[in-house]
């Protein structure tokens, strides 16, 4: 039983990690959900197993550990709350950009493209909106700075 729980947790962690490394927001969300499930399964497996822990229903020495279950319940509730916030954020991101993708950081992108922000040539903000245009996210690109 505990071995199978451990394997389940390992599987969930593996799949979750794979999904988090993807570029699509919805996959990352599912990956995080799976990862937290893996952690919760691990919590479930951490206590002693046995009969239901109801006082009067049997020998207390053979009860399963209720604390582990309480931990798991708390963790599930917290994960649920944060996941819904994350879903709202992902939706907001979709409304703003029209894409279901993780946007790159501006500086990251400039390093990746081999360019660097040159003081004399480029105004950072104008460059920023240009970079966003190139990324295809032109749905509601801001006007280029104020200059």
């Amino acid at each position: 039983m505990t071995t199978s729980l451990a394997f389940t947790a390992a599987l969930l962690f593996g799949v979750g990690t794979y999904l988090i490394l993807q570029h699509t927001l919805s996959r990352i969300l599912i990956g995080l959900a799976l990862l937290s499930h893996g952690a919760n399964v691990l919590l479930m497996g951490s206590g002693q197993r046995g009969t239901p822990p109801l006082i009067g229903s049997g020998d207390p020495a053979r009860f399963s550990d209720p604390l582990a279950q309480a931990f798991a319940l708390t963790a599930i509730v917290i994960t649920f709350g944060v996941s819904s916030l994350l879903l709202a954020l992902a939706y907001r991101s979709w409304v703003l950009t029209g894409k279901d993708e993780v946007e790159d950081d501006v500086s990251d992108r400039s390093i990746a493209s081999g360019g660097h922000l040159d003081k004399e040539v480029i105004d950072e903000e104008a460059w920023h909106s240009k970079a966003l245009d190139q990324g295809g996210a032109s749905r509601d690109t801001e006007p280029a700075g104020h200059g």
Binding site: L35, L43, S46, L67, A68, T74, L89, R92
Partner: protein, 496 residues
Amino acid sequence: MNALLPLPIVLPLLGAALSILVGRSRTAQRIIGIAILAAVTVISVVLLVAVDREGALASQAGGWEAPLGITLVADRLTTIMLTLGSVMLLGVLIFAIGQPGAERNHIGFQSVYLILAAGVSASFLTGDLFNLFVAFEMMLTASYVLLTLGGGREQVRSGMTYVVISLLASALFIAALALIYTATGTVNMADLAGKMDDLPPGLRSAFAVLLVVVFGIKAALFPLFFWLPDSYPTAPSAVTAVFAGLLTKVGVYAILRTQTLFFDEGSRPATLLLVLAGATMLVGVLGAIAQNDVKRILSFHIVSQIGYMIMGLGLFSVAGIAGAIFYIVHHIVVKTTLFLAGGLIEHIGGSSNLRRLGGMVRTAPFVAALFLIPALGLAGIPPLSGFVPKLALIEAGLVDDQHLIVAVSLVVSLLTLYSMVKIWSAVFWNPVTEDPEQETHVVSRLGGPPLMVLPTVALVALGLGVAFGAGPLLDLSGRAAADLLDPTTYITAVLG
């Protein structure tokens, strides 16, 4: 005295609820917020004095004896952090009220902010590893909301990174909890301190490293810091200030607490911590040098400064940890002040980009002074607040013959100074390089609305207070460090 222990958690939560009830009246909300945080500050100071005089205090919620019940513990480190935390929260709240933007436009700001305060207090006070997780979540959930207030494009992008990385850290934390509970059968920290010794040494080391990773993500330790400089600068500046001052330090506090309480000398990852500390300092400060935005530079400096705190811990000597604790005290005050000054700069100049700012030493000389004092303090120029903790850390490093980390910390100090000078000359000294028509609107002679300037002045004064009270503060840090390395008072306070 024990009855005071739950109040820093309960009062802000009550305040948050009240604040929603009176949501129509912004004035009532503000009175509640300030009154609650002022009360928490007073309670924290009382606790600090009491704990320093009489030793650690513990309270068992609902009368369930430890290790079964919910335990709250306050020792010297806890109360030092609690006091600083509540002072910063109060100062930043007043700044936020004075600042046009976040607080005025969002009805929920005050209550979310109070929940953040409750989460921070709970993280410091809890004597239970699982409740530490709950406290972290309370604090983080509030911070997700504060970070993405307004829902602008940049905020959503960086908020996403922040939430995902925090959730990942939480999942790892739960996994660590599950493994520790399986191995020892308890999550009470004082109880764990005893039971951890029965485990095989390999397992203990594995737990030690696992906890460093879990809290290292929150503390922005190398190589787990990438989320921080990306997400902090997009938040409203008052919010960034409180995040910068407190949230990562809660992670550092958790590392300090768990590494010293749970693990004995054989299983502490001392070398690993020193290597991470050096890398964190260097990478953080190099990142800061490469940036061109006040808030981003300051965010990278948070990372760099975390390295000093972990360096003190990695030495695992009373002198080293005392230096680290004093460094935390100095850092919380100075970093929050710098971000508030950065907020003033942004308010006056309309931007936090170095290329768009300039000449403020003439347009806003008062703000220039408010920035210069903490900036030099951060770099560790004597007699300002950064000097004594840095000296203490370096001395502790030399006593332990850790010459490499001492050398790194000195180089990083120099680079910190360079990067502060870069902000200074770009924002205050040099004329505006681009956009000569850029409007800098000076609202008053102070350089901003009084409610924004006043808390900044108060925190600058507090920073000077840290500098001039360095002797007693270092002694206090020394006593707190001795408590950490010999946790018998902590354990007897909880388990009796």
